[in-house]
Symmetry: C2
């Protein structure tokens, strides 16, 4: 473990909860007295290579993924490697009939949800509906072999579908050039998979961490609004609809084609939407009735299809899905499109949908893993999702990931392992082989109703409200991504929100807190005077705590701010006839890093204070800071009395020196 | 001051440097015992508006610039405001003849440097030489009224001149369209000034802090190399030279025009370059002989002009400056160019040169201010430099700022106030009015030698070496800006370097340090086990210190890393038959901020550890973190024993609870 392994066997034995015992303890000969001054250590010496190795392993292997392989025989290592690469070998041997029963129930439940959603999301991406079913067949099978989450229900999802349709639609029209559009969709899926798998392989998974929760709340709400507005096309039966996604062109398109509105469609749409929303409401109120909302989409499809079939002669205003080809996924590797002009569009779309689907998949996997107390390895999941999409792009699937809504249903239906995905895929298989003609009369408006019901849960205004309460800047990031997505475009909205989040980090570094500390009487604890009323100033000292690394971005600010504290302290002393300020102690506990500008600042500050006959003292610099101060010989300028392990020791030692001099 | 003002009048009186005295002190009745558990306070309540106000004042007014105005009469306030806006009113009344004598000497010294450099830098920016002299006349006068630095010698500088020439040259050719080029230069200067003044006015000065020292070292070295290579044109007498700045086109241009090389020019150039470098070397070795290098450029100009005048009939290979118009700066406000196609180029060039010249000006001002122990207000300096450039752009000046080399000479020559700038401007005035014809025979090659001598000091390989030793990532930023400027372009090289610097901050946040702490026997000090050999583990406890704010960018990492520490600790205990791990203490002292993702992480971590029957305890959360934990009710889940003021109190209290239960 690299740290020393001596230990205090029973800490409480040299502590005491009574007043009387302490003195004896403290003055006993084998323990140094409190006032002994402890020297500040340098961290153990390491070569540049060792440091680099440590740093890289912290960046890329923080979870130490190979720890299981340590001290194992080679045969065992082989088994472990197999289990590592294909988690199915890990849970497979322990799988039994009882688990299988649970998985069958949950698998069939999510299938009844996945089939209508698959068709709907393919429409959302402006792809043929059948592609949505293909995408609910191959990817779940692959995930069940490679994936490590037991509850992830894999298939197309709303956000990634919307983004793919919107980004590709800017380059190619799906009405005028449907084949090229489909080719681009497969190519984008291929690049999404490639990007995801590379992130996992290169262990760069932390890139998705930069989509903060605040950003995602805003983004998902914005996307949900856009998706819902898109459904107005189906709801109103408009034929000539805009290809754009932003709120303004969509709304103007809706109101400029009022002559195309079809009242039959509207009535049917609203009817089923109310039905679906009611079932959703029931399931939210009573989680045990999860099957009510899970079964509702399929029920709606069956009912609406029957309805349209019965009144087909009269209902010419209602557009239907129409003919869907029977049969399994055809290969599509020949449809991947690598020619120059549109390749960049495909790559860009692939990366954006790749990041978004990863974010959703990993977040969902982690949520359910933490509920059942098992671990999901982010980087491995990325590889699983990535391979799933690469293979998917060659078997007529578009981008897929773990869906939040379906995974929640799967979890509630009692899924125990990835077998539930296999069961679901089998149900889709049966549908593909035998049931396709049944969808002929399914009205498009019902797909719109299913999509709206699915995405309405993404508008999480309660979380947004909580952001406002807890962190105003997080709320700003949330708003930026919401309005950015709504009014500008999905990728730009997202980048603005990421920019705001990063800006927040930088702002904290650029303008760090500085606090004046005081002593809590009778202890060696020094705390903020502003926060702890019992804390007292120590006369002749100004004790400042700096709450940030000292970097180029804040060194000027900190120098000015510290000098301002000194000025204000001196003014206060003048006004109150206090004893002269003699020493400034910087509590460096929270200064977790320093760079060359920071070091120059410390050196400079010492010089300035020295000219004013004020002593500058550093307390408790962390390892890396100490190392750099030592390397650059700044410490030499501070002399013997310039560095202490704690503020308490600094105050005690310096006061006693003054006393001795006086 | 907002903090309470009680104070311990003599801290050392309740401390002691002898062993025997402590017990009595600690057990005396008026002081609580060490083992008393202190509760963790919330910071004083503030409304959102108060918080916002505080935050904004820290961001924009960290130096509290108006503190002088507090509690003053209105007449005094008026005087103070006048002094605040025009620092000349501050030092003017105290100015005397003795100071004036010093200023005259230093003013004349820098004039002898400013005249040749002004002509040279104008050539560097591909502008008529006379513009360089104009720019050494008006701006110094304006700065002497508005500026607060006493040592800044104002005029054109090499880097900003180079960048302006290079950026404008990409849009307009200075040989084919010299008038338009000059118009653009004035317009860019106008925007540079506008940008600088707005930064100061909006108090956004911290933007220039993002050009870290490391970035600047690399950038200046790269710029120096480029500038020097550009001088090969004059040195070799090449007529058809590339308009580009990057190293590759310049070198290929040099070797493709070997037939144009003129040996007379080369001999003369090398001779004077050696002379100038020797004088520079002398002044560096003996700072008292600063005047040797200060006087050398003017001497070279006089000597070389005389030489060319004497051999003018034979020296047809040597190109000379030629006719320069006599007279003062003509107004140029009518030359500002606000038409669409090239306006963006002017604005971009203005912003880049504006930032660069600000960075140099402010850094120089601060350097000399700290040597003489006075303050330079960054935001006010920005306004001074900005107005100087705005007015300059209307009086035929291009971008100016405080020059490092000339300010150093001015400082060494004993400048006492901005009057030295007035003296310099007067010397330039005399030159402009009467001495212009004398420059007719000045060879261009001498200007190249002066420029090379001036910029060679910018290649600070020692600082670069120091960066490598102290901070590898800083060195990387330095290299990036060096090679970026050399091979790509000045603005791109700069942005890459800023990107690397920001990435470094983000990396530190994304992968923060976590340390295992141990107790230093006999004290309440807890320090890194890895660093302090005397520190001992406390059995049944795992004490972790987190050295970073907890943000969306690191919450996943931290959760995984903490769980890995727990796993490793449990493995260690298993291997060594230690006593079971029962409690994990997170020392939050260095967690200076937390966002919503971070709060979720803490909540999540507690749940996971709870399922494993491990207690999670937080020690010493800072004010803002405490506030957020409280607001989001995370603390309630922790219960009574979940929060302590110090790690020591946590260990003592929890151990004694266990003892009581046992």
């Amino acid at each position: 473990m690299g740290v020393n392994s001596k230990r205090v066997e029973d800490f409480s034995s040299h502590e005491s909860s009574t007043i009387i015992k302490i003195p004896t303890e403290l003055s006993s000969s084998h323990q140094p007295p409190f006032e002994m001054i402890h020297s500040v250590c340098l961290p153990p010496k390491k070569t540049t290579t060792q440091k680099l190795k440590h740093k890289l392993s912290e960046i890329f292997f923080p979870d130490d993924p190979l720890y299981r392989f340590k001290n194992q025989q080679w045969s065992r290592k082989l088994v472990l490697a197999l289990q590592f690469l294909f988690p199915i070998f890990q849970w497979g041997p322990e799988y039994n009939l009882k688990l299988f029963r649970s998985d069958i129930i949950s698998g069939l439940t999510i299938a009844s949800l996945a089939i209508p959603q698959g068709i709907s999301y393919a429409k959302l991406a402006n792809l043929p509906p059948i592609v949505g079913l293909y995408s609910s067949f191959v990817p779940p099978l692959i995930y069940s072999v490679l994936g490590s989450s037991r509850h992830l229900a894999v298939g197309p999802v709303s956000i990634a579908s919307l983004v793919m349709g919107s980004m590709l639609g800017e380059a190619v029209s799906y009405t005028q050039n449907p084949i090229l559009f489909l080719q681009l969709a497969f190519t984008a899926t291929f690049f999404a998979g490639l990007f995801q798998a590379s992130l996992g392989l290169l262990r760069l998974g932390f890139i998705i961490d930069f989509l903060s929760k605040a950003t995602l709340i805003g983004f998902m709400a914005g996307a949900a609004v856009i998706v819902s507005l898109q459904q107005l096309k189906g709801f109103l039966g408009i034929v000539h609809f805009t290809g754009k996604m932003q709120i303004i062109p969509v709304l103007s398109s809706v109101f400029n084609h009022r002559d195309e509105w079809s009242w039959q469609t509207v009535v049917m749409g609203i009817g089923f939407l109310v039905f679906l929303l009611t079932t959703r409401h029931i399931s939210i109120k009573k989680p045990k009735l999860f099957w009510v909302s899970a079964a509702a989409p399929l029920t709606s499809i069956i009912l609406s299809t029957l309805l349209v079939f019965c009144i087909k002669s009269k209902a010419h205003g209602i557009s239907v899905i129409g003919h869907l080809p029977k049969g399994l996924n055809p290969p599509s590797s020949n449809m991947l499109y690598f020619d120059a002009p549109l390749l960049m569009v495909a790559i860009k779309t692939g990366i954006v949908t790749g990041i978004l689907s990863l974010t959703e998949g990993i977040a969902v996997g982690r949520t359910f893993a933490s509920m059942k107390n098992y671990q999901v390895d982010g980087n491995k999941e990325m590889m699983a999702i990535g391979f799933m999409n690469i293979i998917g792009s060659c078997t007529s699937c578009f981008v897929t990931t773990g869906s939040f809504s379906r995974s929640a249903v799967s979890y509630n239906a009692g899924a125990k392992s990835a077998v539930s995905n296999i069961v679901m895929a089998s149900a889709v298989l049966v549908t593909l082989l035998f049931l396709m003609p049944l969808f002929y009369y399914t009205p498009n408006v019902i797909l719109g109703a299913i999509i709206i019901t699915a995405v309405i849960g993404l508008i999480d205004y309660q979380s947004a409200l909580r952001l406002w309460k807890v962190d105003k800047l997080d709320f700003l990031a949330c708003l930026c991504s919401f309005f950015g997505v709504l009014f500008i475009s999905v990728p730009l909205g997202l980048s603005i929100a990421v920019g705001v989040s990063v800006f927040k980090i930088l702002l904290h570094v650029t303008r760090p807190n500085t606090l004046v500390l005081g002593n809590i009487p009778g202890t060696h604890i020094f705390q903020s005077l502003n926060r702890y009323r019992e804390a007292l100033r120590v006369s002749s000292f100004l004790i400042l705590s700096i709450e940030s690394p000292i970097y180029f971005a804040n060194s000027t600010y900190l120098q000015e701010r510290i000098l301002r504290w000194v000025r204000e302290e001196e003014e206060w002393i003048k006004a109150n006839n206090g004893s002269t300020l003699k020493c400034i102690i910087l509590d460096m506990t929270a200064v977790t890093a320093i760079d060359t500008s920071g070091i120059d600042m410390v050196r400079e500050l010492r010089k300035i204070l020295d000219k004013r006959s004020l002593q500058l003292v550093l307390a408790n610099p962390v390892g890396s800071v100490m190392e750099k101060l030592h390397q650059t010989k700044v410490l030499e300028a501070f002399g013997l009395n310039g560095l202490y392990l704690t503020v308490g020791e600094a105050v005690a030692d310096i006061s006693s020196t003054w006393k001795a001099q006086a």
